[in-house]
């Protein structure tokens, strides 16, 4: 049985509500395992539909990019919410991904992201995708997100994010 991390990381439910709103992530079956003011951990289950190398069954790099982009975005929205109590969605400015090794087929991929600097206009993030251990990463990413302020959020988005 998977441990329940909600007691250790109370922001997990908040990050999960964000991830679950993204249609592509629902399609991929991305699970939100942990979230805090410092980090977000997501799980991408193996899915033969996203294979990129049919001869070997290895999943496409684009799915790993999607996992890390999502983990980074979730880390930013969670960090902002922790800091200010405001729901503020930040679009990705840029993302650079280094692919260090292929994912092993039939196993899930984990995406760990941290927002290491939150300024008033930009959020800086880094992420690691791994399978067995974070010390053997499949890919690493760095990115920046633009802060656009909480005024632009729709009431519905704010309501969903606050769990009402």
């Amino acid at each position: 049985m998977k441990p329940d991390n909600r007691d250790f990381f109370p922001l997990t439910a908040f990050a999960k509500r964000f991830v679950d709103q993204l249609a592509q992530c629902r399609e991929l079956g991305v699970n939100t395992l942990e979230a805090s003011e410092h980090h977000v951990l997501l799980e991408l289950p193996y899915n033969p539909q996203v294979i990129g190398y049919p001869d070997s069954g290895v999943i496409h790099g684009g799915v790993i990019t999607t996992l890390m982009d999502t983990a980074c975005g979730a880390a930013v929205i969670t960090a902002i919410y922790h800091q200010s109590g405001e729901v503020e969605l930040s679009p990705t400015l840029d993302l650079r991904v280094d692919y260090m090794k292929s994912a092993t087929p039939e196993k899930p991929v984990f995406g760990f992201a941290e927002c290491f600097k939150l300024s008033s206009s930009v959020a800086f993030v880094r992420a690691i995708a791994y399978q067995d251990s974070m010390d053997a990463p499949l890919a690493q990413a760095v990115g920046s997100f633009m802060r656009i302020g909480s005024e632009l959020m729709t009431d519905e988005f704010r309501r969903v994010m606050e769990g009402n």
């Binding site: 709103q21 993204l22 249609a23 592509q24 992530c25 629902r26 399609e27 033969p48 539909q49 996203v50 294979i51 990129g52 190398y53 049919p54 001869d55 999943i59 496409h60 790099g61 684009g62 799915v63 990019t65 999607t66 996992l67 890390m68 982009d69 999502t70 975005g73 969605l89 679009p91 990705t92 400015l93 840029d94 993302l95 650079r96 991904v97 280094d98 692919y99 292929s102 959020m153 729709t154 519905e156 988005f157």
Partner: protein, 143 residues
């Protein structure tokens, strides 16, 4: 039939739909490819499951990246007649505008192809080619 054979056959038929049909991820996001003379233009028709930001709604940034990355590797296989699926080394994307819930396109330029590594730049747009929604740069190992 292996992917390499499929690429060779596609080049002979001048029809690249077969290559994309062989790659499950390309089907998953629903991308297509058309050839105009020597140029390839990739298409990503609108699809609900490709959306991210629920407020706009907008395409998920990761889907735009995956689309561009897949396009770059097909472009390499087709234009350079490589016999193996190129392996991605790094991918760096700048998101310039929100990608809305409508058709997106991209084209690739092979900036340099060495013996082992190729550098590809990719541009994606929606209504106007001169107003890209994202630009990216990727390195692939050819081996």
């Amino acid at each position: 039939m292996s992917v390499a054979n499929e690429v060779a056959a596609a080049a002979a038929r001048n029809d690249y739909a077969g290559v994309l049909a062989r790659v499950p991820y390309a089907q998953f996001i629903g991308m297509e490819c058309e050839r105009f003379g020597d140029e390839l233009v990739f298409r990503l028709p609108p699809k609900k499951s490709n959306l991210g930001n629920p407020m706009l709604p907008a395409l998920h940034g990761g889907v735009i990246s995956g689309f561009m990355e897949m396009a770059a590797s097909v472009q390499l296989m087709v234009m350079m007649q490589v016999t193996r699926v190129p392996r991605i080394v790094d991918f760096s994307v700048d998101y310039l505008r929100a990608g809305y819930a409508r058709e997106a396109y991209c084209e690739c330029k092979i900036t340099r192809q060495g013996r082992r590594v190729a550098n590809v730049s990719i541009s994606a747009w929606q209504t106007n080619r001169k107003q890209p929604i994202a630009t990216a740069r990727a390195h692939f190992l050819l081996d």
